[in-house]
Symmetry: C2
Subunit: 315 residues, 2 copies
């Protein structure tokens, strides 16, 4: 089922389906250092992240028979909530494999949406294997967090929305990047836009893959990062095919740059961003990518534990 | 100049002027306890509060000669920033009289917008007298935070926007209330809507005024409140005339209910609300007013010090 390539027609179809059930997220004008750019506030989605888009596109394309057998996904928490939300809307059973060290708020919210949560150890267990095994055992659809054409197309619907809100295709889109589902989707959605993926320092496998021309993985001992949503060890060939054709380079940001962006969003934009949802803004504030009135920066998620957020914003 | 009554024609004119310079703030769907209502996120304005609306309507109606002589306002911080922002856009000098105990972030931001800040003591000095004296001395326009027809009409533009976003006039609008500028403006903007003002407990002079049929003041020793933006001792005849004709009653919320609303906005909506900006949502979450798909709840501001916010959200 996941052997096809994602394409723009699929993105447009996803955007139509998403528009039937979700209000467009605001495209907020931001003035910074005398320049102006647009922030697409995906943190304002009902589950607090863009992941609801891909999950909805994927699950609504399942047959009645497939829906009856439920869905399995693996996620640190945002894809988890997206899938759980979509499954509940469609009356489907959802099982989500989540790391034991996922932010408590993400575990809690996923369960609250009616999903069964299965825990694993992020550093020692193979989450994919656990997810695939559960899916096979139950005959349930397996929805990968990024290596899935529906998921990529669904995430791309954010780009269709942004272009409609802007009145034209964005010239540049700066996006948070884990496995590359969102960035690939945006690249398909806006074929004329320069798409810039941003990753946490030390987890910049996509940037290194783009630079080297082949898929690279995160090193053996990656540094700790607060960006739980972006701790992906490598992108997939499905995503990389799109990214390689469309992204000249990728950027990375330090943990301190991420905190600065979270503080900026808090005090200047009155938005709550989780670390992984703030990396694109972090790259902009750090001056790593130029912005103007044709630039859309994605604020991809806002699911952060109160204690962690309080630590970041306290002077 | 402030002797006329505010009216709906003025609100419509204000809405047109505001639309030329400010993007509409998002009207976000909120699902709570199985019911759905709309949140008008005025905290996402460039200055973090709706006050920018009234200030813009007022200052743009000044003559060139008046603009050259500058503007004076009295405010705990949101009207301050609204006036400073509008003045800067119009190349006007702004002097703002602010309480010494205003949140540091509000003092800092007002100065950052180029205004001269004059401090006073909230409990012992007469801020109105200081403001009027400065205005007379400098020949500058005095823009009252709520007892001004332009200010009332300008704030009402939020209601025009909400009705356009909703596709119809809201049946009910629940709004944060200090002096009654916003609530009176909304009442004029949406003549068919039930408008419910919400105040902090012990500062519910508008609710008591509505109940008694004449303007009441806050008692001699009002309780401390985190809602710095709503510490108004009495509404004005200009505002009360509108409110009395249109509001059946007012509500009040406790400090704990306000904290609950701030936490809810943080973790469920990913929005930063200051205490005074959260009272309308607080009344809804506390079950003090019924909501449905025709209800608009105003989240009026998000200018809150990081330390204060961290204390509220910490578990």
């Amino acid at each position: 089922m996941t052997s096809r390539s994602p394409d723009r027609t699929g993105v447009l179809r996803a955007a139509e389906k998403v528009a039937q059930i979700l209000a467009p997220t605001p495209l907020l004008p931001v003035e910074h250092d005398g320049r102006m750019f647009w922030l697409k506030a995906e943190c304002l989605q009902p589950v607090g992240a863009f992941k609801i888009r891909g999950a909805w596109h994927r699950l609504t394309d399942l047959s009645d028979d497939e829906r009856a057998r439920g869905v399995v996904a693996v996620s640190s928490g945002n894809h988890a909530q997206g899938v759980a939300w979509a499954a509940r809307k469609l009356g489907m059973a959802a099982t989500i494999v989540m790391p034991r060290d996922a932010p408590p708020i993400k575990l809690e919210r996923t369960r609250e949406l009616g999903a069964e949560v299965v825990l694993y150890d992020r550093m020692t267990e193979d989450r994919e294997a656990i997810g695939r095994a559960l899916s096979a055992e139950r005959g349930a659809a397996y929805v990968h967090a990024f290596a899935d054409p529906w998921v990529i197309e669904g995430q791309g619907s954010a780009g269709i929305e942004a272009a409609a809100q802007l009145g034209r295709e964005p010239a540049r889109i700066v996006a948070c990047c884990g496995g590359g589902g969102l960035t690939a989707g945006l690249a398909l959605a806006c074929p004329g836009a320069e798409v810039v993926p941003v990753e946490p320092a030390g987890w910049d496998d996509v940037a290194r893959s783009l630079a080297s021309g082949s898929i690279q993985t995160v090193g053996a001992n990656p540094p700790p990062t607060a960006c739980d949503a972006l701790q992906t060890f490598a992108t997939s060939p499905l995503n990389f095919a799109v990214l390689q054709a469309r992204c000249a380079f990728g950027l990375s940001v330090t943990e301190e740059e991420v905190c600065t962006a979270q503080r900026y969003a808090f005090s200047r934009l009155r938005l709550v961003l989780e670390p992984g949802g703030a990396v694109a803004l972090a790259a902009v504030l750090a001056g790593k990518v130029a912005v103007d009135e044709g630039t859309v920066v994605i604020a991809s998620g806002g699911n952060v534990d109160p204690l962690a957020f309080a630590r970041v914003i306290r002077p």
